[in-house]
Amino acid sequence: MARQTTQWRVGAAGMAVLALTLTLTACGGAKVGDTSAGSGSSGGSGESSGKCGTFNLAVNPWVGYEANAAVVAYVAEHNLGCKVTKKDLKEEIAWQGFGTGEVDAVIENWGHDDLRKKYITDQKTAVEAGVTGNEGLIGWYVPPWLAKAHPDILDWNNLDKYAAKFKTSESGGKGQLLDGDPSFVTNDEALVKNLKLDFKVVYAGSETALIQSFRKAEKNKEWVIGYFYEPQWFMSEVPLVKVKLPEYKAGCDADAEKIACDYPVYKLDKIVSAKFAKSGSPAYDLVKNFTWTNDDQNTVAKYIAEDKMTPEAAAKKWVEANKAKVDAWVN
């Protein structure tokens, strides 16, 4: 007991000394809120920020979207002086946010006729804001080694010939067609049925699982065929090859049960909340004017996914190299 008391006494003395030293040494050094430290916030408080205010941008969970969002956010912050709040949300919740006023814009939308009907036509809380210039492809893809070794596999008519090769522990004796994240548009189950293919759709359940499967397949020369889409950053690592399905004709996908044709080419577009469209915010004009090409998006997505840059740094790099394009959006 006595020993412990002594220990504590020493401890108390030590602490007092520590406190004193800290107080003395701390007299130097920059202070929080000094102009040097607070330059970021003072830059934003120029005349333009009053006009723009807060801009709530949804960020859906795929890297291509994040590239769009990073560039738009960067321009909104630096050229328009907006305060951008990025919100990481899935599509469904992001659209829901239009009604509650929590989300101003979705900057890359893939079709989603169900959501359009619910929020644009019925609830009237969202409006369209034009295309992004990106064209989205959805379809069935195989790893490049397979396309090279068996070129005829790229025609759906020949798929059955190879069905046995695609068998896995999950596919119940049939060939396996791997599907990914359930939020992405898919007709695969109907396609397999209506094209009478000897395949079974197996749900990987996430994009991560899908990409990892393709990556592994290319590396170990495994037989994998699955749902994929472009533009997608992974394509620059492993350039998957698209399998030709019966050609898409307008209206061939009208009845979801009877679809027997390829996916259409999606003109990716932007959706904003009705309130935001009427607000007169310069951020709205930016969203409306924003267009770029698949190559542009792939460049920024590559910065983020492969070069591991932060979205801000990636956007900065692209914006500085493409001044002309950016100027066209803000003027």
Partner: protein, 673 residues
């Protein structure tokens, strides 16, 4: 996705078995043999009928198909969304709750993690937070945990994750605060009143087993995207352990003590405040501990609805399959969990020790606390004022080395082990999982239902038979029967493997204190590391298959089972083991004939917890190829028209959980009786 049912640490029933063993043994043996025969008979009848009736009445439902119930749930969800701005319930009730909680979260965030209006940095910088954390851990615990806390918090900064960690901490603290605000009074009530306890239990089970993804999306409809929704989602999941453990604590105060207080003329309030609460303080603090752990697990998942913090870093990294960055953030979560766990554990030990320590020491301690408070105040002031103390210095180099090390390790494993693992996976899938799954999914539903009810009744008594019957009926009503059977097959296979592993490691830990000391921290880490972090390497090893889901479930569930079994083995009286040794038993005989049979209670508890933990990983399994209920829940979270089906699948998971929980608990009571 750590949707787990953390049971209060049920004290082992007093080990009277040693005395009564000799007389009770013959009866028990006869009963067990006959029970075993009944179980065997049920299984044989099942197999015979399966051969005859295969493929009839299987209630299948394709991935995109819906039932009437699912559509109705969709419509209900839609109408809430459409009317939220005009409904008075929203205007005057939900919005008010949201406002209060949002303000609380924002306040804490502005204090430690987020810049407030005019300040570019939070009010208290890293030095201040480290100071407060160290001081508080010392004051409620001891200097050893204080040191651990300081080291842990500094580590966040070195990892380059200071702000993310503080966001996670802010959200965790707010959620724990709100949870305890409700949980402690409710727990006291459930401790005092049997009826309240009975009514509450099913709700608590529901809150803990319902997969979070089912209610995340609707929560944002009620409470908008932001701090309030994230906090409420966390509270729903984290409050039940505190309620259960508080009730348990109140109940375990010896009756004689309460009676003594009554006889002295204490009123109900007096006996509550002066006797019951002080005497159960130690256990209640353990409840707080469990709530903090659960909250920390959930805060990660809340990143799916834009909750700031480490969870976001994990999910973002996984979009580009960046295992290293995800692991770095996961490690910060592990460190935070271990720090909070050790501090609260030390606090609960202190609650006990404080009463016993002497007066002179106490006087000194008071002065020391005052001195510590002054130092902390100075640190807070410094971190409020000066940039060097506010913003963590450095670039987070430790973080990048952690990330690249994790990357290297995961690449090595993928490159060198994948051949081996494929063979193992195929053997297990084709040899065990597929036949079992076929048996469950291709039998008529009423046959499987009857088998389940029969097994429930035989193993757990007629009461659990009735519970099972109700659960089976409701499972059919959810419309996802076939998916539920697929999930059930994987769940049971995963549970069996979990238990095999747990018995081996648990016995080893129970017999060797050294092994225990080495293994236990790894188990802690496996329990709190967000599963998403290790999914990517697992996917590389096993592909998008049910097997990957099973492995993920084992990683999450085995640590709990191991700890329980190790404790059980250690509680076998040393004298019994010595007697067996002197009678000439070798090590193997001691384990199989003495230690394991005597730890039977622990084994059943481990089975119970193993199953519940495996079930809580069903949704994670859905993300890596398990399909069935897990996929339904994930799909419901992502697609409006599948929302109802996802909710139904979530209910099915709850029903499976409740069914197995009741059967195993009843069986445990029987074996220990």
């Amino acid at each position: 996705m750590t949707v787990a049912m953390e049971k209060p640490p049920v004290p082992e029933p007093p080990q009277q078995e040693t005395d009564t063993l000799t007389e009770a043994a013959p009866v028990a043996v006869v009963r067990r043999v006959s029970r075993r025969m009944v179980v065997g008979a049920i299984l044989v009848v099942w197999l015979v009928l399966f051969a005859v009736l295969r493929g009839t009445h299987t209630l299948p439902l394709a991935a995109a198909d819906l039932t009437g119930l699912h559509r109705w749930l969709n419509d209900a969800n839609d109408s809430i969304g459409a009317n939220r701005n005009s409904n008075p319930l929203f205007l005057y009730f939900f919005n008010e709750i949201r406002l209060v909680i949002d303000n609380l979260v924002t306040l804490v965030q502005h204090l430690i993690s987020q810049p407030s209006d005019s300040r570019p940095l939070p009010q208290i910088g890293w030095l201040g937070v480290v100071g407060i954390a160290g001081f508080v851990s010392w004051a409620v615990g001891n200097w050893r945990v204080a040191l651990l806390t300081v080291a842990g918090f500094v580590f966040f900064g070195l990892q380059g994750l200071w702000q993310e960690s503080m966001d996670t901490l802010a959200l965790t603290l707010s959620a724990v605060f709100v949870a305890l605000l409700f949980a402690i009074p409710l727990g006291v009530w459930a401790g005092l009143s049997n009826r309240a306890n009975k009514i509450m239990t099913p709700f608590l089970d529901f809150m803990q087993t319902m997969p979070t993804m089912v209610y995340l999306a609707p929560l944002t409809l009620f409470f908008l995207i932001g701090g309030a929704s994230a906090t409420i989602a966390t509270v729903v999941y984290a409050a039940p352990p505190a309620i259960r453990i508080t009730a348990h604590a109140i109940r375990s105060v010896p009756e004689t003590t309460v009676e003594a207080a009554d006889s002295l003329g204490a009123t109900r309030w007096q006996s509550l405040l002066k006797v019951l609460l002080p005497m159960s303080k130690r256990t209640v603090v353990m409840g707080v501990n469990q709530t903090i752990m659960a909250a920390l697990a959930m805060v990660t998942l809340a990143a799916l609805i834009d909750a700031p913090g480490l969870g976001k870093t994990v999910f973002q990294a996984l979009q580009s399959l960046d295992v290293g960055t995800a692991f770095n953030a996961g490690l910060a979560i592990v460190v935070m969990a271990i720090v909070l766990d050790r501090v609260t554990t030390a606090a609960s030990a202190r609650a006990e020790a404080a009463r016993r320590s002497g007066g002179r020491l106490l006087a000194w301690r008071r002065q020391l606390v005052a001195a510590g408070a002054v130092v902390t105040a100075v640190l807070v002031y410094l971190s409020h004022t000066y940039v060097w103390a506010a913003e963590f210095p450095g670039e987070g180099d430790v973080g990048s080395s952690v990330a690249s090390a994790a990357d290297t390790a995961s690449t090595w494993v993928q490159d060198n082990l994948s051949g081996l693992t494929n063979a193992f996976r195929d053997a297990l899938t084709n040899g065990l999982l597929n036949p079992f799954q076929t048996l469950l999914t291709d039998s008529p539903w009423w046959l499987v239902g009857a088998v389940l009810v029969g097994l429930g009744a035989v193993l757990g008594g007629w009461r659990s038979g009735v519970t099972t019957a109700v659960c089976v009926g409701l499972l059919v009503a959810t419309g996802v029967w076939s998916d539920a059977m697929t999930t059930l097959a994987s769940t049971l296979v995963a549970t069996v493997m979990t238990l095999l592993l747990a018995v081996v490691v648990g016995v080893w830990m129970g017999r060797s204190p050294l092994a225990d000391r080495v293994i236990r921290p790894t188990l802690d880490a496996a329990q709190v590391m967000p599963p998403f972090v290790y999914l990517v390497p697992f996917l590389a090893l096993f592909g998008a298959t049910r097997f990957t889901a099973i492995v993920a479930a084992i990683v999450y569930a085995a640590p709990v089972a191991m700890k329980i079994i190790a404790d059980g083995i250690r509680n076998v009286p040393a004298t019994t083991v010595e007697a067996a040794t002197s009678a000439g038993c070798d090590t193997w005989q001691i384990i199989t004939k003495v230690q394991l049979p005597m730890a039977r209670g622990a084994l059943t508890l481990a089975t119970n917890q193993g199953l519940i933990y495996v079930l809580s990983m069903v949704v994670v399994g859905g993300l890596v190829g398990a399909g069935a209920l897990g996929y339904d829940v994930v799909a419901g979270f992502s697609q409006g028209q599948l929302y109802g089906k996802g909710l139904a699948a979530g209910l099915a998971i709850v029903l499976l959980g409740v069914m197995f929980d009741r059967i195993t608990q009843a069986a445990a009571r029987r074996t220990s009786a």
